[in-house]
């Protein structure tokens, strides 16, 4: 199959890669760029392990064509720590709250946590849970992960502008 040249930045570095039109972003990141922090879990958009930020938005790289992110700015888990190697506060929080067990869901969770805190400085616990509900974790029961994200909230509470939140079943 004829290959297409695609260029994008990943974690601040520019890449030009020749990909087939049916190549998925997940596999290009992992196989072509060697960024294996982004994981395959189901390939069907069900588990959230493959989440990366594309132009600042969290997307599932297992359902994203590489050709469709031509020109995009992509951030993967490898790009969250600072250039000097020091960790992002959310990564520190995951370490401090024991929010890591096997570590396979961790990259996707951390990306989602980062995304939420960027959008909202002081999310409620319910908002945190809803933000990561598409990211499955089989080890932790989510408790320590939610606690880690809670611990990263800015101290000053911002007023919620959403009046009707979806709640968990029965919780009306």
């Amino acid at each position: 199959m004829k290959k297409t040249e695609v260029s994008f930045t990943v974690n601040g570095e520019t890449y030009e890669v020749n990909v087939e039109t049916n190549a998925l972003l997940l596999n290009v990141l992992r196989d072509d760029l060697g960024l294996t922090g982004t994981k395959y879990g189901c390939g069907m958009g069900q588990c959230g392990l493959c989440t990366v930020l594309v132009n600042g938005e969290p997307v599932l790289s297992c359902l994203t064509l590489a050709v469709a992110v031509d020109g995009a700015d992509i951030v993967t888990i490898e790009g969250l720590s600072k250039p000097d190697g020091s960790l992002d506060p959310i990564q520190e929080a995951f370490l401090d709250q024991g929010a890591i067990q096997c570590g396979y869901c961790t990259p996707g969770m951390v990306i989602m946590a980062k995304d939420l805190l960027k959008r909202k400085a002081h999310p409620s616990e319910m908002e945190i849970r809803e933000h990561i509900e598409g990211n499955l974790c089989r080890c932790t029961g989510y408790v320590s992960i939610v606690k880690a994200i809670k611990s990263c909230r800015k101290k000053t509470s911002s007023k919620a502008h959403l009046s009707f939140h979806r709640k968990s079943p029965n919780q009306e």
């Binding site: 189901c42 570590g103 029965n170």
Partner: protein
């Protein structure tokens, strides 16, 4: 309390929350799992899987695939040795029924051929070009139907050890255990209660699908990076199947993306990958897709008929459990499973007279293997449900009947089956029940009939335990020992090397802490070395909740011996009797300090000692130890669960939980709490959500379309973080490393039972069949109100 010897110790790092050593690599995406391993000139593999539940492979043509440049293997290309992928039982108790690629597929998804090619896309194209001719055979999916005379049979015979064992009526194995005289016991009882309980065929859904990379070496050997709980068992089995000396097989320990028992065995994809790599003479990588993984393994489902005879005061006098386990197409470890199920049953509550009967049956389904608890969540669900039924009949408090009958301190425990018996030396059962009772608000718990309205809350309790490993005073049917090496480096830091595995719960972290505590070297200077089979002694496996208790004990012993050598060196420098020397950690210096108590000036850092010993050619303070625990202490666990049932939709909301474990000395408090929390979530899955069903026509999983249709709970179904309470019983296990026992599997063993009891408390309806889905709740509520109206 029934009293216990609590040895108070001042630990420098054990029991304190510290950052896990593998945390940074995991949180930055730099941890390399098997699926991330990349080698030069590596090929990608795909497996051709049977679309039929039972079919003989008549012929396979790989010509077209090979013409595309793919390397192919079929049953004709692989060794014919019949093997069992699990290597934990002694050989004469190991049932062997499978080959690398079988010529008869016995479940949908069984691999019958495989390809490797330069890219995954090419492998996929080649795979489609393989032509297979099948002769379809009739299949059976129901275990009771399978045991009838005219049912289709999966096997004519299997091997038990080296002996050919004919298989009749698809019965893979059968076990009976009895003590006392059950008939007599039931005659003595004032009340006999009996019920049947069923649990689902849960899929492990570890987040990393099984994976393996294999590199053939120029010397005829192989190097393997597998998803595995035991690298040594993988090596031994590969050596036997492919007739390669073990000295030429190196299996690396690779971080695992969750296991829950799914990789206790040498995964079948490993042997397939090795066969491909040997034929291709190039490295091959094989990573299962999610749908393949779903067709690879599942939890043992159970049908349990349970009967207790009790006195009017609640004392149990007799018990009987009969279970039928539908093991699917392969017997991976059904024989020890049945032994354990008898043990779980016998060791929960005291019974002078008991009888157990277990039958494992082959069906044309995905093979079942160990999953967190190994039959214990199933047994505990039945027993704890029946305890509540008995309590209600006797008008007793559910906690009271448990306190009256539990097997505790000083009593014999044989959780791992009849051959693994030991005496209980630490027990926090009472503490957990009484403290948990206060924390959940047990006193305000109302009876079901007092509840009104659409949303009804209920509180349930259940208790259980798990073993800590499978050690025992006498060797049994299960192999259990660990090997560890500890050495002092020339700068005063310490290396610890072991084949033990961490599944995420912090096993190796615990080992580092134990070694730090024992050597007196600060935790920051103790590291767990990367491990492979060439550099480590045998370790059975991280399974059976044995990591800390058994593996930790071997590391502790190695540390002790290495330390004694170091003190010999120190004694030469300090001119002090080595037995008088001690080591304490100095966090600021980042060193252990060797010192003589009360003598100023008689002190030196561990680094100086080790360096001096090296320069003067005295040697290295190093020790390797193989260690078997002679005990098998239960780690007890208790759950209090509060639910809210919507009587209009049947939905059950998880409101609050109190989860407690008696793990002896708790080494990593945050990680231990994390295990309890994870156990709650998976236990809730078993209780309310998870099961796999089969289409009786096609033999396919009805949820086989990936995890789109196999759901596990998400972050929103767990209670608010403030409502998930965990605590540890204050106990000390005399036989454990620094007083520790296990925790792992125990964490989810009683959760399903507590849920069933909570739902009963909310509705007054007992669910004996898991999962308790909204559909079932609504159906039962309808029957219930019709029955009430009928009265």
């Amino acid at each position: 309390m029934r009293g216990q010897s609590m040895e108070k110790k001042n630990f420098s790092t054990v029991g304190k929350t510290t950052r896990r050593k593998d945390g940074v690599s995991k949180v930055t995406g730099r941890e390399i799992f098997s699926s991330d391993v990349v080698l030069p000139h590596m090929l990608y593999a795909r497996v051709l899987r049977s679309p039929y539940p039972h079919a003989r492979v008549v012929s396979i043509s790989t010509a077209k695939a090979e013409a595309m440049g793919a390397v192919c293997i079929t049953p004709a290309d692989v060794p014919k040795l019949r093997y069992n992928e699990r290597q934990v039982s002694i050989p004469e108790k190991t049932y062997r029924d499978r080959t690398v690629l079988p010529d008869t597929a016995r479940h949908v998804g069984e691999g019958i051929a495989a390809v490797a090619a330069k890219t995954e896309a090419l492998a996929e194209k080649a795979l489609v070009q393989i032509a297979v001719k099948y002769e379809r055979l009739s299949a059976v999916f129901d275990p009771f139907e399978a045991m009838t005379a005219d049912a289709p049979t999966l096997y004519k015979d299997v091997l038990l050890g080296e002996v050919v064992l004919p298989i009749n009526r698809n019965i893979a194995c059968h076990r009976e255990v009895s003590e006392g005289d059950a008939e007599k016991g039931f005659q003595e009882a004032d009340l006999i209660v009996e019920n049947e309980f069923r649990t689902g065929r849960v899929y492990h859904q570890q987040m990393e699908t099984k994976a393996v990379v294999c590199r053939p070496e120029p010397d005829g050997g192989i190097t393997v990076w597998p998803t595995a709980q035991s690298i040594h068992n993988v090596r031994q089995l590969l050596g036997r199947i492919f007739k390669i000396p073990l000295s030429k097989i190196n299996v690396h320990r690779v971080p695992i993306g969750g296991s829950f028992g799914s990789s206790i065995q040498m995964n079948t994809c490993i042997a397939i990958c090795v066969a491909l790599a040997l034929k291709a003479r190039k490295p091959v990588k094989l990573v299962l897709t999610r749908e393949e993984d779903m067709y690879d393994h599942c939890k043992y489902p159970s049908i349990i008929r349970l009967k207790y005879g009790v006195k009017r005061d609640g004392t149990i006098v007799a018990g009987e459990m009969k279970t039928v386990v539908d093991i699917g197409a392969h017997n991976i470890q059904a024989y020890p499973l049945l032994g354990c199920m008898s043990g779980w049953f016998v060791s929960l509550y005291r019974m002078p007279h008991l009888r157990f009967e277990g039958t494992a049956v082959y069906t044309n389904k995905v093979p079942a293997c160990a999953m967190q608890g190994y039959g214990n969540p199933q047994v505990s669900f039945a027993v704890e449900s029946l305890m509540d039924i008995i309590a209600e009949k006797l008008n007793m408090d559910p906690i009271e009947i448990r306190l009256k009958n539990y097997v505790g301190l000083g009593e014999t425990f044989w959780g791992q089956g009849p051959t693994v018996r030991s005496v209980i030396r630490s027990c926090g059962v009472e503490e957990m029940l009484l403290k948990g009772k206060d924390m959940i608000g047990w006193e305000s718990r109302k009876k079901p009939e007092e509840k009104r309205g659409r949303l009804r809350r209920g509180i349930g309790v259940a208790r259980s335990f798990h073993t800590s490993g499978t050690g025992a005073p006498m060797p049994g049917e299960v192999i259990d020992y660990s090997t560890a090496m500890v050495k002092f480096n020339e700068d005063g830091s310490v290396d610890c090397l072991t084949a033990l595995m961490c599944h995420g719960g912090g096993t190796l972290e615990a080992l580092a802490k134990i070694v730090s505590e024992e050597t007196g070297v600060p935790l920051s200077k103790v590291e767990i070395s990367p491990a492979d089979t060439r550099s480590t002694g045998y370790d059975v496996c991280t399974h059976a909740t044995r990591g800390v208790y058994c593996g930790g004990a071997s590391a502790q012993r190695a540390a002790k011996e290495a330390k004694s050598k170091l003190l010999q060196f120190a004694s030469r420098i300090l001119e002090v009797n080595p037995d008088a020397l001690k080591i304490r950690p100095d966090e600021e210096l980042g060193q252990g300090i060797v010192y003589l108590e009360g003598a100023k000036g008689k002190a030196i850092t561990v680094g100086e000692v080790a360096k001096t010993a090296q320069i003067k050619s005295w040697g290295t303070a190093i020790s390797v130890v193989s260690h078997r625990q002679v005990n098998c202490p239960p780690c007890f666990v208790t759950n209090f669960i509060e639910v809210e049932v919507d009587t209009e939709t049947g939905q059950i909301r998880f409101v609050k939980a109190v989860a407690a474990v008696d793990a002896g000395t708790v080494i990593n408090p945050d990680l231990a709490a994390g295990q309890l929390e994870g156990g709650l979530c998976r236990g809730m899955g078993l209780a309310l959500l998870e099961d796999t069903e089969y289409d009786p026509k096609s033999g396919e999983l009805t949820c086989g379309r990936n995890i789109t249709d196999y759901k596990i709970f998400t972050s929103v179904e767990m209670p608010m973080t403030d409502d998930v309470l965990t605590f540890f019983a204050a106990t000390y296990e005399p036989s454990g490393p620094l007083g520790a026992k296990g925790i792992g599997e125990a964490a989810n063993n009683c959760t399903a039972g507590a849920f069933a009891n909570a739902v009963y408390n909310a509705l007054g309806i007992r669910f004996n069949e898991l999962p308790i889905t909204p559909e079932k709740v609504l159906t039962r509520l309808k029957e219930y109100s019709l029955r009430k109206r009928g009265k």
